[in-house]
């Protein structure tokens, strides 16, 4: 089973939920994939050194100047402005390239070949008693995270439970991260920004036909808007995690969240039960 933990708005508690879920599942076969590759932080919670680090590449064009006639076809076909033909050469901007291969296929001189461009790494970390954490880490300066997220998600396809800690937003990165999941937890907070982005995230789930439910973090009692939204859209509210400065302080120190808020264990167990019923 693949469970995505997404939010829309950043900082609502995706990583808190993902890592606590992993702890409560208490099964060494669980794999947590930190797909928030621009700022992965699930590793901070477990404080373990990675066992292995593998480099992830994607293909980018390399021009052979011996065959290139500077005709400009490659720059004209590129949808992402990754190639610029100047009077004496073709300049390639790897960070703009989406690896579509159109320039390679259409070069009349066959002067373009594809070469590997490193875009980031995947770090595998063993978390004693909890399973494996696979962290995607995008190289600084890379504009495109989806290819790395895709590579992260190919980790441990046979694991009985895979949790995907998703990037914030509802852009290509979030879509790539939640794609193919059996269930998606949307972690939200009762603030105008949290609500705004939650609505967008719900639309994304509907488009991709992924079942999901809401987890209200930093809950402070009044959640009329979220209850109405849940009723209107059919996405249930699975849990309400009360606002707790103690939990926040403990989490920031990297201390055990289940000790700072013991009822979190019950809340998580109940979330897992509801997911199993829904899937």
């Amino acid at each position: 089973m693949q469970i995505a933990v997404a939010s829309g708005k950043g900082g609502t508690g995706k990583t808190l939920i993902s890592t606590t879920l992993m702890k409560v599942l208490n099964d060494e076969r669980v794999v947590l994939i930190d797909a928030d590759v621009e700022e992965p932080n699930a590793g901070l919670v477990f404080n373990q050194s990675p066992l292995t680090t593998s480099v992830v590449h994607r293909l980018v064009p390399t021009i052979d100047p011996d065959y290139c006639t500077l005709c400009g076809d490659c720059a004209a076909i590129c949808n992402f402005n990754a190639l610029v033909v100047i009077p004496d050469q073709v300049l390639v901007f790897n960070e703009l390239c989406h690896s579509c291969g159109a320039c390679v296929a259409l070069c009349p001189q066959s002067a373009i070949r594809e070469t590997k461009h490193p875009l980031g790494v995947i770090e595998d970390t063993l978390v004693p008693g909890c399973g494996t954490l696979s962290t995607g880490r995008l190289n600084v300066g890379e504009a495109l995270s989806p290819p790395l997220i895709k590579a992260c998600k190919q980790k441990a396809p046979g694991a009985p439970t895979r949790i995907i800690d998703c990037p914030p937003g509802t852009t290509c990165a979030m879509i790539e991260a939640i794609k193919g999941s059996d269930y998606c937890l949307l972690v939200t907070e009762p603030t105008p920004l949290g609500r705004h982005d939650l609505v967008l995230s719900l639309e994304a789930l509907q488009l991709l036909n992924i079942p999901g439910g809401l987890v209200i973090n930093r809950w402070q009692g009044n959640d009329q808007y979220l209850s109405d939204l849940s009723r209107r859209t059919g996405f249930p509210i699975l849990a309400r995690i009360p606002f707790s400065p103690e939990l926040a302080r403990s989490y920031m120190r990297g201390a055990e969240t289940l000790e700072a808020m013991p009822e979190l264990r019950c809340i998580m167990t109940d979330i897992i039960r509801q997911i199993k019923e829904a899937v």
Binding site: G72, F80, N81, A82, V84, V85, I86, Q89, L91, L96
Partner: protein, 117 residues
């Protein structure tokens, strides 16, 4: 062939205000020193998700532009323009296209020597 001058503009008239942005400016007003005339060219890269700067450069190189009047130029566009030996001049904020061109011809505009965006 004499190189042309491109002015980043918010509109397609010589009296339009200049656009500070290079890659995402609405329009390029391309001035031909031979005909002494403007040719407005909508910037096809203005709404590009990525690579607006490099796309805009390609458009201008295809038009035989050798000089650009712009205020803010990103690092990628700047690198290409440098390689292609295109000179960039700033100091155009608040001017119309015609005023910017007049200042350029009076050699009153500073050359941009590093990316500024």
């Amino acid at each position: 062939m004499i190189k042309k001058i491109a002015i980043c503009s918010t509109g397609s008239s010589p009296s339009s205000q200049v656009d500070e942005r290079f890659g995402r400016c609405a329009c390029f007003m391309i001035w031909d020193p031979e005909t002494k005339d403007f040719e407005p060219l909508a910037n096809p890269a203005a709404d590009a998700a990525h690579g607006a700067g490099t796309g805009a450069v390609q458009t201008l190189l295809n038009k035989n532009v050798g000089f650009i009047l712009a205020q803010r130029v990103g690092p990628k566009a700047f690198a290409v323009l440098k390689q292609a030996d295109v000179k960039i001049y700033g100091g155009i904020v608040g001017k119309t296209v015609t005023e910017a061109l007049d200042s350029y011809r009076a050699e009153a505009l500073p050359e941009l020597l590093s990316p500024s965006n």
